[in-house]
């Protein structure tokens, strides 16, 4: 890559980063002060949901193994195969 091409590319990257950053600030705060601080108020990018592309739907896993996955019961309650057989007792009494 020639020196002038490198300079062009670097300039393009910086312009892009600043433009994207302004878009983020705009989305987050809509603050004119923040935008003018960057001197970029005229080209805030219009960021839409489509830009993120395909929604993979499923939120998963973060609660696994932590016992907090069910919102309304404690998981085991009333559903164990051992219920009523004494297999679940933890105090050794049965």
């Amino acid at each position: 890559m020639t020196k002038s091409m490198k300079a062009l590319m670097l300039g393009a990257a910086v312009t892009g980063l600043l433009g994207g950053s302004t878009g983020q600030l705009h989305a987050a705060t809509s603050s004119n002060a923040a935008l003018s601080a960057l001197g970029q108020s005229s080209f805030a990018s219009s960021f839409t949901a489509e830009d993120k592309d395909k929604h993979a739907c499923k939120g998963q896993n973060s609660c696994k193994g932590k016992g907090g996955c069910k919102s309304s019961d404690n998981g085991c309650k009333g559903k164990n195969s051992c219920k009523g057989k004494g297999g679940c007792a933890t105090d050794g009494s049965k």
């Binding site: 830009d51 896993n61 193994g65």
Partner: protein
């Protein structure tokens, strides 16, 4: 006393974690040939309804049912590719070779891709498609849980040089795949409905999830970013140039090296490249993908 308790815990764990029979019951003998009835009687008292073995079996079964259920939930796409029977066989073989060693079931599939490459018989003749699907499903888990760091500050942007290194958010996972498994997995999950909860329920017999097959997955090279935005995971198709540029950033190469890497396999006319670079960086910054390099 502490030593005795520790020994008892290890004994119990070893008994509970030993693999089930194909009928999903506790094995009569462990791997070393020791009688499990005698082993159970050694540290579990019977009651008036169940003997020691039967009491231990409850925990042994529930342990494995929980692993199976978690694994099936994590790899629904793989199950759809392989079919239920092959998937079940693969799951058992994998989990027996790679028993859970983490406090969290989230890590259960962490070694699946590597194991699958070493044991191609479990996915043949759909090895490549299966590996694409498991790569995507594991990337989804990683993206969901990985850290999000502060985005690149303006001061860094305005002082960029050719030698500057920037970094990619840890939750952005880059994949080069040989099949359009992203569309297939999204379609599959849309059919199944979204699930935001993982059941902790213990059940008497294992509930096998409703099975759906994937069909007509196109054989094509796709470049994909699996990323998180506002706590939701997205799959984003990338151009070839995007992929190599982001990959170089992720590898810690300098900005100019990364830009060079973007065009290594590209046929994009040179005149269009600066415009592409500007637009790509702007878009990724909008998504909050770029951040500073940290020492960790």
């Amino acid at each position: 006393m502490t030593g005795e308790l520790h020994q008892l815990q290890r004994r119990m764990a070893a008994a509970v974690m030993q693999p089930l029979t194909l009928d999903e019951t506790m094995r009569k003998r462990d791997r070393s040939g020791r009688d499990n009835h005698a082993e159970a009687a050694g540290f579990i008292r019977p009651n008036d309804r169940l003997d020691s073995f039967e009491r231990l079996e409850i925990y042994n079964r529930q342990y494995w049912f929980r692993l199976f259920s978690s694994f099936e939930e994590d790899f629904t796409g793989l199950q759809a590719v392989l079919g239920r029977k092959k998937f079940q066989a693969l799951m058992r073989a994998y989990l027996e070779s790679n028993p859970s060693t983490s406090f969290s079931l989230r890590n259960l599939g962490s070694r699946l891709l590597e194991w699958s490459c070493d044991n191609p018989q479990w996915t043949a003749p759909l090895g490549e498609l299966s590996q694409d699907m498991m790569s995507l499903e594991w990337a989804h888990i990683e993206s969901f849980d990985s850290a999000s760091r502060p985005v690149l500050p303006v001061e860094t942007m305005t002082s960029l040089s050719e030698e500057t290194q920037i970094s990619l958010q840890p939750h952005v996972r880059l994949l080069k795949l040989h099949h359009a498994v992203d569309n297939a997995l999204i379609a599959l999950r849309s059919d199944s409905g979204s699930s935001n909860s993982s059941s902790n329920s213990a059940t008497a017999s294992r509930i096998v999830r409703r099975f759906r097959a994937v069909s007509g997955v196109n054989h094509e090279t796709i470049y994909l970013a699996v990323h998180r935005y506002e706590d939701t995971v997205y799959y984003k198709r990338l151009r070839l140039e995007d992929f190599y540029l982001l990959q170089a950033i992720q590898e810690g190469r300098t900005l100019m090296d990364a830009i060079d890497a973007a065009f290594e396999f590209s046929v994009m006319p040179e005149a269009e490249r600066p415009g592409y670079v500007q637009s790509a960086f702007q878009h990724w910054m909008s998504l909050g993908w770029l951040c500073e390099v940290t020492s960790d």
